[in-house]
């Protein structure tokens, strides 16, 4: 098992290198200059030159790339061209906030999605099933922007129950987490439902029922655990999606996470920060995938990693 984990971690290195190289080239292919993005139309040619020199952007691309990789190996992500703060500090200040929001959204999504999916599967085509699947359809279709603003208007302006923007207390987390988690809740509900429906028709479930096992135990122990494998996959991947999909939610709720940071950085052509955020998200994604694979083994003892 541990050999497998180490092997998988080693395999992630080429993936990460690929991701970083891709982004390195992408941001440089965009037209636009960091210096002009900093000083706007007021930037003088001397200033533009100075910024290019300071950040090594006057070097040929291969030289820039080798310098970048060399620093990366020493754990140095460089300096933000916009704020002139070390990229590590910028990421470190923001990533925990994004993680907090994504995890809260995942909890919201799981708490709504899994029970809704189970009940729908147990009573397929019932009123509840039809209704919850309709709601789920809305859930995946609603634009995050619109949902966020509506929730703010209702719960912050009209009712005054919850804060509209910013971060701090648990109350601040509620609206962004619900906004971000809604689409995932809908997806998880649909996934749980179809997976449960499939499992419930299998022979061993019939056997369990025939043995006289109470229905509750049949569903929650026998069926659910097996139905969970695709659901866990979705949960794991959803966390990745939530982390990177937090961009819009963070913008609407003025949530100080990496999503907003990357948007601001792209607009400001802040290459080092964009590279840093992508590297961080790619690493998180790869690690999440590994965890998901390991959870399979726990859910289904037939799966072995050698």
């Amino acid at each position: 098992m541990w050999r497998y984990v180490v092997w998988r971690l080693l395999l992630t290195l080429p993936t990460l290198l690929g991701a970083v190289t891709f982004v390195f080239l992408m941001v440089r292919l965009l037209p636009g200059d960091p210096a002009v993005a900093i000083a706007g139309v007021q930037a003088t040619p001397e200033f533009v030159e100075q910024v290019r020199r300071e950040f090594g952007l006057d070097q040929p691309l291969p030289v820039q790339y080798i310098t970048f990789l060399g620093r990366l190996l020493q754990g140095d992500l460089g300096i933000s061209t916009r704020t002139r703060q070390p990229v590590w500090e910028e990421l470190w200040a923001r990533f925990p906030h994004t993680l907090e929001l994504a995890l809260a959204a995942l909890v919201v999504a799981a708490l709504i999605g899994i029970p809704a999916g189970i009940i729908s599967a147990v009573r397929p085509y019932s009123l509840f099933d039809n209704f919850s699947m309709l709601v789920a359809l809305f859930g995946v279709s609603i634009p995050v922007f619109w949902l966020g603003l509506m929730l703010m208007l209702l719960f912050s302006v009209q009712l005054g129950w919850l804060p509209a923007t910013g971060r701090g207390t648990l109350a601040h987390l509620v609206l962004p987490a619900v906004t971000l988690g809604t689409a995932s809740a809908a997806l998880i509900a649909r996934m749980t439902r179809s997976s449960m429906l499939e499992v419930l028709t299998q022979d061993y479930v019939q056997t369990a029922r025939a043995k006289g096992v109470p229905e509750r135990v049949v569903i929650l122990r026998h069926a659910l655990k097996n139905a969970f494998i695709p659901v866990v996959t979705v949960l794991g991947l959803q966390l990745g999606t939530l982390l990177s999909g937090a961009v819009l939610t963070e913008t609407v709720f003025a949530w100080p996470g990496v999503g907003r940071l990357v948007v601001e950085s792209i607009l400001a052509r802040d290459y080092p920060v964009v590279q840093g955020v992508v590297l961080l998200l790619a690493t998180t994604f790869v690690i999440l995938n590994l965890i998901v694979d390991l959870v399979y083994a726990w859910l289904d003892p037939r799966i072995r990693y050698e």
Partner: protein, 518 residues
């Protein structure tokens, strides 16, 4: 007669009492915290490295400048007490206010001014706005409170440029001790001191108890909160999470105006929005064509219906309230006249051009471009709209004339120095064509060049104003631009906050603000 004087006297007393009563009701209260909601976080707060209005807004609370601009557009001394300029306009002697200290206790004196100006002027300083005072060749300390600035040639906009937020005075001790730390911990002489900066969230300032203007400031704390989304900023104001916001979207104005707890303010801005023609490329090499397009577009309608009243039709290449402004008569909306002129110029059936415009950079910019497109079509001119993301947009347009891709382009210019030199020189002087500057219309008129050069070195304000008047007349008749409008900032404030200053430089100051219920 005597009776009359008694009546007058009595009236004066009554009026006087009235004013006193009003003053008493308006007596500022001490304490509390004001929260201002802004869209963009400052990039950093080391004055010489700043480059944006949001950074200037925060910095103005912490760091002060030698001169400043009041709300009427006058340049008045701030950290300077008095000044004089030599006959030839090359030597400026500044006498500083005494008894001022920086937040860290370092005295504010001639040495400190020299330190800051030298730092700003150092070619290695990385100051994006170094060009503002780049004419200064020497900064000399005459005595503890007198500094002498020498320029290589007379430079008339000097005082206006010294009023720029980016030439704020920082404590020399702090700059030396903190190194790059000064970027997040500025130490100035201003009303408030830096307390905490939570990246991505907010900046919190606290009262400077040793502030040099007696009685000020009233507030204990000022907080700046960063809420990027326009609609969310409005919601935050309605929910009472912030006291004041900037850039209210036009669609939200009626709702906020209907709210008894909120006041909406329309503040003139120094930013002028225009559509430039490529003056070096047919058909815009012909002045009749340029004039025709000015007649073809209904500016009043753009302001009224697209901007919902949030704008002012241009009557000069820059806004009122700036030194050197003199109004012309706007080209009236007259499509028939436009068609005649086009026919005269040899385009009876119009022509096809492109029109580059940004989306989301200025208020309703894309909608304005679409409206202009529709109006030009009435005159037979087909304008193809091309929009690009902002940084790409600037990089695409900023090309020398022979490489230019644009026929027409929509752009804004914030004349932040409050001096006509900065409004006109970079945009109309032919020495400023890319790659040197941002003169993207490639307009060339030797008389304009000469007058702009002369106005730059003429110390006498009256004579300068006359020169600019002439320049504006020529530009207006040559019509190198399709003149549109200047922006009006829409800010909204919750009731209960007094004394906020809504500045044309696109910021709100809480330096003299107070809360009715702290």
């Amino acid at each position: 007669m005597r009776r009359l004087s008694r009546v007058v006297g009595l009236t004066l007393v009554v009026v006087g009492l009235g004013i006193l009563g009003a003053l008493e009701a308006q007596e500022p209260k001490r304490g509390g915290r004001v929260v201002l909601g802004m869209g963009v976080e400052p990039e950093n707060l080391d004055t010489i490295r700043m480059a944006s209005a949001p950074a200037a807004m925060v910095s103005e609370h912490i760091t002060q400048t030698l001169f400043t601009v009041d709300l009427q557009g006058n340049i008045v001394p701030e950290l300077v007490e008095s000044y004089e300029v030599s006959e030839d306009g090359r030597v400026w002697t500044l006498r500083l206010r005494r008894g001022i200290t920086f937040h860290d206790g370092t005295p504010f004196n001639a040495e400190a001014v020299k330190f800051n100006l030298d730092r700003f002027l150092d070619p290695e300083s990385k100051a994006p706005f170094r060009f503002l005072i780049a004419r200064i060749t020497d900064v000399e300390v005459l005595d503890e409170y007198t500094v002498r600035l020498t320029t290589d040639q007379p430079f008339a906009p000097m005082l206006a440029h010294l009023s720029h937020s980016f030439i704020g005075m920082l404590s020399p001790t702090a700059v030396q001790e903190l190194g790059s730390g000064i970027e997040t911990n500025p130490v100035g002489t201003g009303h408030f001191k830096m307390k905490t900066w939570t990246r991505g969230e907010s900046i919190l300032l606290e009262r400077n108890p040793d502030y040099w203007e007696a009685g000020l400031p009233y507030l204990d704390e000022v907080m700046f909160r960063f809420i990027p989304e326009d609609a969310a900023r409005v919601v935050a104001l309605e929910a009472g999470e912030v006291h004041a916001i900037m850039r209210v979207p036009p669609a939200d104005i009626p709702r906020l105006e209907a709210d008894p707890d909120i006041e909406v303010l329309k503040v003139p801005s120094v930013r002028t929005i225009y559509i430039g023609f490529n003056n070096q490329k047919a058909p815009f090499t012909d002045v009749r064509v340029r004039r025709a397009l000015n007649y073809c577009v209904d500016k009043e309608a753009l302001v009224e219906f697209v901007l919902e009243g949030v704008g002012r039709v241009s009557d000069a290449p820059f806004s009122p309230g700036i030194f050197g402004y003199s109004p012309m008569t706007p080209y009236e909306y007259d499509p028939e006249r436009a068609k005649e002129l086009l026919a005269e110029a040899g385009y009876p059936d119009g022509f096809k051009v492109n029109l580059y415009h940004p989306t989301g950079r200025y208020l309703m910019d894309a909608a304005i471009a679409e409206a202009v497109q529709a109006q030009l079509k009435e005159c037979g001119v087909e304008a193809e709209l091309i929009t690009l993301e902002w940084a790409t947009y600037l990089a695409t347009l900023r090309k020398p004339p022979e490489e230019a891709v644009h026929d027409m382009y929509l752009l804004g210019w914030g004349c932040v120095t409050n001096d006509a030199d900065y409004c006109l020189y970079p945009l109309f002087h032919s020495g400023e064509w890319p790659p040197v500057g941002w003169h993207l219309s490639y307009y060339k008129n030797e008389e304009v060049d000469r007058l702009l050069d002369e106005a730059r070195v003429t110390p006498d304000p009256e004579r300068r104003a006359a020169l600019y008047k002439r320049v504006i007349e020529i530009i207006w008749n040559d019509a190198p631009w399709l003149f549109l409008y200047s922006e009006v900032q829409v800010n909204a404030v919750r009731k209960g906050v007094q004394g906020l200053i809504h500045h044309p430089r696109e910021y709100i100051l809480a330096t003299e603000a107070w809360l009715e219920q702290p």
